[in-house]
């Protein structure tokens, strides 16, 4: 016979009441787990989708000479060939510590060419990554399939009076217009896009890259760290986070988290109130029993131990059950809130968090009833019935 035997037997005796408390705590914990999991999944999903809508890191050569404007951003100029980025730099970006946060790497080589006696900026791109980065592009025609095909902006089409499948001459070589961009309202409207490799050979800049746009999945990713890690890998480059874009994304994502945290806090308070009410009622109906314990030599701390052990057992079970229930519901509910592409794994940290919250709520709410029980005057307690 130990104090824990008394606690276990007492729980079993009051199983209906304790089941009520257990269910209350389990629902509270599972709701928190659901909210955290679903909001995480939603955030990750939103982050993923947002990141598909543009770059949030810009890498340009370190130069203080000429500059030109691209996409509303000022980048280093064309005349700094000795400091230009190259194909190897593209690979290096994929080797940083937070490489799993790197979603898209879109290198570009900017050059100028004469087309029909007009000066036009020609951009060498990797069409796969460029179209992934610029989801808003609407191409009339098709994405170029080989190096002799190009895409032109709507302004180029208009000013040079060009049409689909017509050809243009760049540096004496002929390119077929495979696609025409619908008006984007950006500088892309005045550009000609050709394959990056072809541009490098055409403009005699082998392996050279003018700038690299990077889309980093930034759900909880430390963008400053990614910038720092990239800078470390590319010492000759200037790596800049497009702060406004990131901050907007982060704000959108964290709004969901704040909402979830608020709801979770309210639910935990309700759970704590259920625990407090149940344990207080339990203490009240056990006054005689507590009087007996005290009269036969139990110290105050022994009484508290019995009550706390009961709360500990119930909270532990509620934490585990709440986590499993919450995980199950979250897995099934995530697709309903649009996070269908993400999986919710069994997370040991989340399990520990659920257990911790449950213990904190259940045991915390039992402090007052336990102290009250321990301080009961044994003679008053014995007269209780």
């Amino acid at each position: 016979m130990k104090l824990c035997d008394i606690s276990l037997n007492s729980l079993w005796r009051r199983k209906t009441r304790m089941l009520f408390l257990l269910i209350g705590l389990t629902i509270a914990i599972s709701t928190v787990v659901i909210l955290v999991n679903v909001s995480r999944a939603m955030n990750a999903d939103i982050a993923k989708k947002l990141d598909e809508y543009g770059a949030n890191i810009l890498i340009v050569p370190n130069s203080d000479e000429l500059s030109l404007s691209y996409g509303g951003m000022t980048v280093s100029g064309l005349s700094v060939d000795q400091k230009a980025l190259n194909d190897q730099d593209i690979q290096k970006i994929r080797t940083i510590k937070n490489k799993e946060n790197i979603s898209i790497v879109a290198p570009k080589l900017l050059s100028v060419a004469e087309v029909q006696a007009k000066t036009v900026m020609v951009v060498g791109v990797d069409f796969d990554s460029e179209t992934a980065l610029k989801k808003w592009w609407k191409i009339i025609g098709v994405k170029p399939g080989d190096e002799w095909e190009a895409i032109i902006g709507s302004e180029v089409k208009q000013k040079l009076n060009l049409g689909l499948n017509q050809t243009i001459q760049l540096k004496g070589e002929t390119f077929k217009i495979a696609g025409i961009l619908e008006e984007t309202g950006s500088q892309d409207d005045g550009l000609i896009f050709i394959d990056l490799k072809k541009a490098q050979s055409l403009f005699h800049k082998p392996a050279s890259v003018s700038l690299i746009e990077v889309a980093a999945l930034c759900y909880d990713c430390p963008i400053e760290e990614i910038v720092a890690q990239t800078s470390e890998k590319l010492p000759g480059a200037k790596v800049t986070a497009i702060r406004q874009s990131i901050e907007t994304k982060m704000e959108t994502m964290h709004r969901f988290e704040h909402f979830s945290l608020g709801i979770s806090a309210v639910i935990l308070v309700i759970g704590a109130l259920i625990a407090f009410t149940t344990m207080s009622a339990s203490v009240n109906e056990r006054k005689k029993e507590i009087g007996v314990f005290r009269s036969i030599g139990f110290r105050q701390r022994h009484i508290m131990q019995i009550i706390f052990l009961e709360a500990l057992i119930l909270s532990g079970i509620a934490g585990l059950a709440g986590y499993l229930l919450g995980w199950f519901v979250a897995v099934n509910a995530a697709p309903l809130v649009g996070a269908e592409t993400l999986t919710i794994p069994v997370d040991s940290v989340m399990l520990l968090m659920a257990l911790g919250l449950s213990l904190l709520t259940g045991v915390g709410a039992t402090v007052h009833p336990a102290v009250k029980a321990a301080r009961l005057d044994p003679t008053v307690a014995l007269r209780a019935l």
Binding site: M1, I6, N9, F293, S295, I296, R299, Q300, L382
Partner: protein, 239 residues
């Protein structure tokens, strides 16, 4: 040898501005191995005296010394330890824990004693044997008769081997035959050397005691001389 020494004991209860002395300046002593019955009408202060002797109710004045320990000079937690070591309580309404079986009820005082489980079980089973309930060790209290529940309460009071048993109306809820059986058990324990202080309003129970103290309005109306032999030996009891 004095086991219990009570001097100028006062216990007052307050109700508004009025105070009532449940125990009013009494002094007496009880020797080791005595079986003392405390008698008196309802409201005479018997039960209050018992809880004061057991270290449960702080007196308003006076002193209770048990085995040379000034009980109320101890802190509340020290008194809990004192009760564990010195006192075994037997209550009128048994006060068994309903969700623990007979064996577990007897072992409750051992829950705060550092000893191997098997040893605790052996002690409790030995006591159940003594009160003739070993065969009902796994029953719940509500499966037992009143007399059997009282025997369990007595076994529980004895489990820590305390020098004093304090019994509050131990036969108050029992029929006449069962009462005699319980009193015979008390007498037997006393013969084995157990000191017992029993509160009772049943005159028949006096025949089992070696001495009685009569209380009236909180004062000692009569403190009988120690009888050379318990009255029971002179009064035949059919049980």
């Amino acid at each position: 040898m004095n086991l219990i020494y009570v001097e100028n004991l006062i216990k007052e209860y307050h109700s508004g501005e009025e105070s009532v002395a449940a125990v009013d300046n009494i002094s007496f002593s009880i020797d080791l191995g005595e079986f003392v019955a405390v008698v008196g009408p309802s409201g005479s202060g018997k039960s209050t005296l018992l809880t004061v002797l057991g270290g449960l109710t702080h007196p308003t004045g006076g002193q209770v010394v048990i085995d040379e320990i000034d009980v109320y000079a101890l802190t509340a937690e020290q008194r809990a330890d004192f009760r564990k070591e010195y006192i075994g309580f037997v209550f009128q309404s048994f006060h068994l824990i309903p969700y623990l079986n007979v064996l577990e009820n007897v072992m409750i005082p051992l829950a705060v004693v550092d000893a191997p489980g098997a040893e605790k079980t052996e002690i409790a089973l030995g006591l159940l044997e003594k009160v003739s309930l070993a065969d009902k060790a796994r029953r719940l209290p509500d499966e037992l008769s009143g007399g059997e529940q009282e025997r369990v309460a007595i076994a529980r009071a004895l489990v820590n081997n305390p020098p004093i048993i304090l019994a509050d109306e131990p036969t108050g809820n029992l029929d006449s035959t069962t009462s005699h059986s319980i009193m015979a058990l008390f007498r037997h324990l006393n013969e084995e050397g157990q000191s017992i202080v029993m509160v009772t309003h049943n005159p028949e129970n006096l025949t089992y005691a070696g001495r009685f103290i009569t209380l009236r309005d909180g004062k000692i109306a009569q403190n009988s001389e120690a009888l050379k032999q318990p009255l029971i030996e002179r009064i035949p009891i059919n049980n």
